[in-house]
Symmetry: C2
Subunit: 534 residues, 2 copies
Amino acid sequence: MFEIIARDAAGRLGRLKTPHGDVLTPTLMPVYNPNIPMIPAKELEQEFKIQILITNAYIIYRTPELRERAKQGVHKLIGFQRAIMTDSGAYQAWIYKKELDVTNRTIIQFEEVLEPDIATILDVFTETNDYNIARDGVERTIKAAEECIALREKEKILWAAPIQGGQFLDLLKYCAKKLSVLDFDIHPLGTLAPSLQNYNYKQVTETLLVTKQHIPPSRPLHGFSIGHPIFFALAVAVGVDLFDSSAYALFARDNRYLTVNGTLKFANLEEFPCVCPVCSKFSPSDLREVDRLQREYLLAKHNLYATINEIKRIRVAIRENWLWELVQERIRAHPSLLDAFNYILSTYSDFFLKYDPISKKSGFFYSGSESLLRPEVKRYEKKLLENYSPPPKAEILLIFPDLDIRFENSPQFRNWIDQIPNRERIHLCLYSPIFGIIPEELKDIYPLTQHEFLNTYDLQLNLHAKSVFQKYIQKNQLKYSKILIFRPKFYYNTNAQKQDLISHPIDEIIKEKDLELTIVSSIEQLKLNLEKLI
Amino acid sequence: MFEIIARDAAGRLGRLKTPHGDVLTPTLMPVYNPNIPMIPAKELEQEFKIQILITNAYIIYRTPELRERAKQGVHKLIGFQRAIMTDSGAYQAWIYKKELDVTNRTIIQFEEVLEPDIATILDVFTETNDYNIARDGVERTIKAAEECIALREKEKILWAAPIQGGQFLDLLKYCAKKLSVLDFDIHPLGTLAPSLQNYNYKQVTETLLVTKQHIPPSRPLHGFSIGHPIFFALAVAVGVDLFDSSAYALFARDNRYLTVNGTLKFANLEEFPCVCPVCSKFSPSDLREVDRLQREYLLAKHNLYATINEIKRIRVAIRENWLWELVQERIRAHPSLLDAFNYILSTYSDFFLKYDPISKKSGFFYSGSESLLRPEVKRYEKKLLENYSPPPKAEILLIFPDLDIRFENSPQFRNWIDQIPNRERIHLCLYSPIFGIIPEELKDIYPLTQHEFLNTYDLQLNLHAKSVFQKYIQKNQLKYSKILIFRPKFYYNTNAQKQDLISHPIDEIIKEKDLELTIVSSIEQLKLNLEKLI
């Protein structure tokens, strides 16, 4: 039912099979309001090639002329031939701050009449600072899920059971565990809207991650209400498979223009920073000349294109394994995204180690100190410091800066390595700004030679490299009789051009007073030293 | 002739008036090869709304059937009614590693026949590590420019004189100064292609900046050969007004798919990460089914859309003053861009102080330690440490963390400020992670209250804040009899929610042993202390 095609970070590219065709995930389900659709369902299907949309069973139920037509099934009612998910009204209960006039049973039975591809139980929104109220919401949600299983009859429908608990991580965990053992197909995480409105990406990301940790990996995770593309890449990196957006329509109604870097005011625009079919055809002044409804329609179309664009980019990134690289760019769109990244990657390091692929099609790009938190770096550190021993005959630890040596065509490296006597007694290691120290036998592990970094190092990078080095030495110092450091004055860059080595974290080791180090700065000196030692 | 409409960073939005209409800058001039145009000129004009393209006078001259039609003028020859720039063949001389079979005089006279809107002298490409060869190229370029002035007759044509000098900054400066006093309208910077091919963005950015420093601000700067959108934002931030792209076509021929984050191989794509009119209509498998020429044509169209998209985004960013924010994202697309940013911003701080607007329409977003190099931060630091004195009656320096106080609705702040006796003897300052220390009288200076930062601070941020604070104290310590620090346990965030203050750079001052500080952690304590002192 849900097949995983490719993985990157804790995200995956998947295929969700539904009675109305396969849905490629991650995907965005446009919210379709059956009373006031901004973009007709036919256009969503044909022009936008939308594979799944989400509409609302409660709204259909509450609208007499729509309820009457429910027996046709929701696909006919809306005029959409691909997959449809129905929501249940929990969000409406929160928005209008009142108990709904329908029960979970009514909604479920009504959804069975509508026969969408995915139906949702009537869960309880848990936006509250009060733990007890949230716990009560969770319990009621679990009861609704149990009731659903007892009630439902149509086998074709996939059922979604939202995880509730709001800001309380232990409640989310509890709810996720309880619902995981029940027969459901999809788990939305509910109650995200309030934190999203406050740019509280740290909380949103953490609750998504905790939910993801406690639901079966075979069930897609739906980040309910996440409709702004600014957050998609990070959300997918923690495991979200489905998004839904009413933002494309609501923002349009408010004359707001969506971009992946943030929202712009239509009123301020003198040109559109976009080349989607709408923005390629019309200018802001064109849109000022049409009537309000037509303008809203066109803005909604642009907003939807901008939203879908990011989804497509993310799917390509997963296939090609540059999702973290995309995330590193996206988190610059707002400092609270960078905050969320830093917090999540430091707090849930093991989570990412579990999911992130150990080998990738694309290189690792360093983008600032946050890159040191990535699973590729942590995994290697763990391997080096917990599971690695130097070769048995290694006596002399010889450290090269990785700048020079990581390129097989480095003239210095080639000349020297070919001439070395008693090779097995010398343990050659690279000192790397990102990975600290790389024993030569490990250098083919991803991404030790597949990464791009800076030529100018920052303080944090230097401290990091030194700390890994120190831990390595602490663990392995008895193995070595001597530590030799090759700190050349120049090196050969990726284009085989000779370049001065102005500063490299290796200088940080050299400053180290507690270690007995011999430092050499030319291949000649190095040879002399080795001859004496061997 | 060139009117500046808006500014941001060292970039500007401008209007270049030509005989064939106004050109909004920054802009991209698609390279139009009159022998093998990938996209017909008519489509460039009508579908892409291209306001200016660049073609090559030397190629037209060398092609008998085109040379014959030169008298029609280049607009008729190509079939394009908007502005046209002609290049001169200097690039071809470099590509084919030979002297051209035409002279500067021939090309100039031929360009006068073609009558483009902008014509280029036959300059000398200076890709060399040999200073003398580069100097010779510069002298020959200057001579070619002088010859152009003596020769040219048609007044309507704008003339472009490329700055040469290659990697040698003093030669660039010399060439720019020499050409600046001659009657030219536009200055391209030549010889960028080799460094661009090597991802040597540091060198490209520095040579652009040095050129910009030494040409008149009233003349547009053209970054010759910069055609990949990955670099546009940073290039505009240092002052580039015009780009030209053959990349859109060359990459298409090579089955490469341009995106603003980098180049993808068409062969690897299962879907297009884009919503331009081409990618909205066709899928990669559609393109695999058409013939090679049609595929190249469609890929070229996508590539051009992707390129133009970034230009549009940049123009909107300049108008709304978030160009640095865009640059902060873009430099994550490759570590050499981040390197270039760090180097340029640290080395040429005064350059940016000169151009960057002192007040902006958008807030300052912190995106990592590189943000500390931005002119907004440097300008404030300069003001604070060089041109500011505390109020004459100030005796007691009282420091608040800015988290709490910068929001006018902060309950703590409001309660306390209303009750304070002898207000003028107390000098209230905010301790800010980014700006170090903000005296209350200065707090309305941009971007002291218009910035978004992190809730989790990094080492570099802490060190930076502390260093500004220390410099401030060093300069002003005799003014104060007492330093009081308010280090609360909680504060009120932007949503007026109470939040624990877990860590703030203010803790760094507290650790400071050399200063006599009184630290208080509640408003009550603060009041008691102030009562004693006043």
